[in-house]
Amino acid sequence: MSTFLQLLVNGLGKGAVYALLALGFVIIYKATEVVNFAHGSLVLIGGYLVYELKDALGWTLAAVVGITAAAVAALVIERVLLRNARSADHNSLALLTIGIDVIITEEVVRRVGADIPFIGDPYDSQPLQIAGLTVFRTQAIALVVGAVLITAFLLAFRYSNWGVAMRAQAENREAAALMGINSSRVTATAWLVAGALAGVAVLFMATQDFSGAGLGRGTHAIALIAFPAAILGGLDSTAGAVVGGLVVGLTEALSAQYISFEFSKSAVFLVMLVVLVVRPSGLFGTKELSRV
């Protein structure tokens, strides 16, 4: 029983990180209808800067720089590349982000080289004892940070002017523009926020506690597992992203323990497949209607 509770805590801790990443996918998809395959490379950019700067600036300041850099990188991708591909449809733009992802990932992995550094200095590898459970500190902090950020985002999304503008644009781009919503600004902030969330997520990902692997291709692959999280919840549902993230985190933790570690990644995708067969637009996604 205590193993099971332990697994639940681990799963939720991982799930919070996946939720941050999945939320990024969903925000970008809602604002621009583009699926951002380059999300994993945003993660790497943030992580790489933390790794490079943490000795010079101290970890906290380096983390701030990393988060900012991931946000700015997302904005640059949107402004420089996606905005200028006017003739392309949304699927082509998704393919464009694959090209960006290939380049950035190769470059970061090349720069990191053979080191594969861990970047979670302040909390790495110091387990906490809470009520008889051994909790990885990284995952406990990830859970708290994830909960705070996600709550803040969902509140802002629901009540702030920015959130209203964003939801209006997601609903109907033309109508929103006619009502005086600055579509370009909404799009830009969506990418900024998504990039920043990726930058936060990486602080937990490249740690001993989370993946046992440092910053490298493995980190990029973890970001890819957030993809099923977003899809499973429904690509256009922010709440779905959070639920999806937690489901993926739990699936991974439980199957790694009860089936095998190697199977855990496949298990995540299998759970997603089952959900998709039952609900083709994810748990909370909008059903695509077609009239004949």
């Binding site: 699926v35 393919l95 960006i100 993809f227 199977f263």
Partner: protein
Amino acid sequence: MSETMTPPAAPPQAPPAGAARPGRNWLKIVATAVLVVVLLLLPVLVGNSGVAYLKLAQYILIGVVGGIGLTLLVGQAGQLSLAHPFFLLVGAVGYAVLSGDPEESDDLVGLGLPPLVGVIGAVALCGLIGLAFAPVAGRLRGIYLGVASLSLVFLGLWLGQSLDMFSGGTSSGRNAPVFELFGFEFANSQPAPTIAGVAIQKQQRLWYLFLAFALGSYFLARGAVNSRIGRSWRAVRDNEAAATAMGVHVTRVKAGAFVISSAFAGLAGVMTALWLDLVKPDENEFTGTYSLTVAIAFLAIVIIGGLGSVPGAVIGAVLVFGLQQFFLLGSQQFGWFADAQFGGFSAVVVSAFVYGGAIVLVVLFEPGGMAAIGRRLLGRRRSPDVPATADGDRTTPREDR
């Protein structure tokens, strides 16, 4: 949409520069003839010392066969798939199991069937698994399908790692059965037949085999695209509701596209096994012969070539697979990237930059890819086998969302 549905049997309408037309036809015939001669004589041209170049060219043909399969699915039928590496793996392992020597090892399953049966069986197996995936593929669209198909790559990785008796395991793998056709072995022999003084040994023989596979795939795909099948694919791609209204059985058409594309990938998998002379599952999901990197490389072939264009897929394969092998060859033979130890500009990094950049440039400036550029050079406005998006003038038919 009506334009893309024009019966392809009709001659190209109103070429923009009518006067230049006959000349271009001759040019095309001569160019094709030269190309065929060069391809047939390639082993002679590179000689026995240039086997490395022959290997490079063989690898391109693997990309051609797989790329053609994917362009039919993604470009023609409009179904995004990242599952190609999985079917490559199934094809390679299927061939090894069906035609593998039962005596080879106690731990490995080998049925010892004739290699031709093994190839056909492996391709059929991939088609069947594609069919088994069809209920999922039929329900999903666009990105949802893309990510769903990604699950097959992860599943393949896990199966490859855990089913040692079929795949040979990640550490050593297993031997690829020697291909053999009516008693003629595609292996080294003494004495070897020669053409113009060049011994036709294993690699030369494999080149002709791969060339036959690639040409067969090319003409099969062209035939499918130009027939009723291709029209139903494009109808489903452009608007499922309209296709249904016109009497197209959407689910069946989607399943068919998946089956055919998987079968092509299976053949490419068999070719990969023969090319490497080894069947060995990947150790992780992001690098290796059947990994996510390969999924993206195949997608790059399709995008760079021009979605849906069969000749485009050939050019895409030359660019993506060819460049990658070219850089690898350069690093091995001429010491390029020699100072690039781990973490330097290695062949893999440089080729990833090139094709990543090529994807970005193509989507930004020429969404029709190489196929559109080729058409412009040849002065044709539009060929029926290419989505209208190629010319950037299709309004997305999704207003009814």
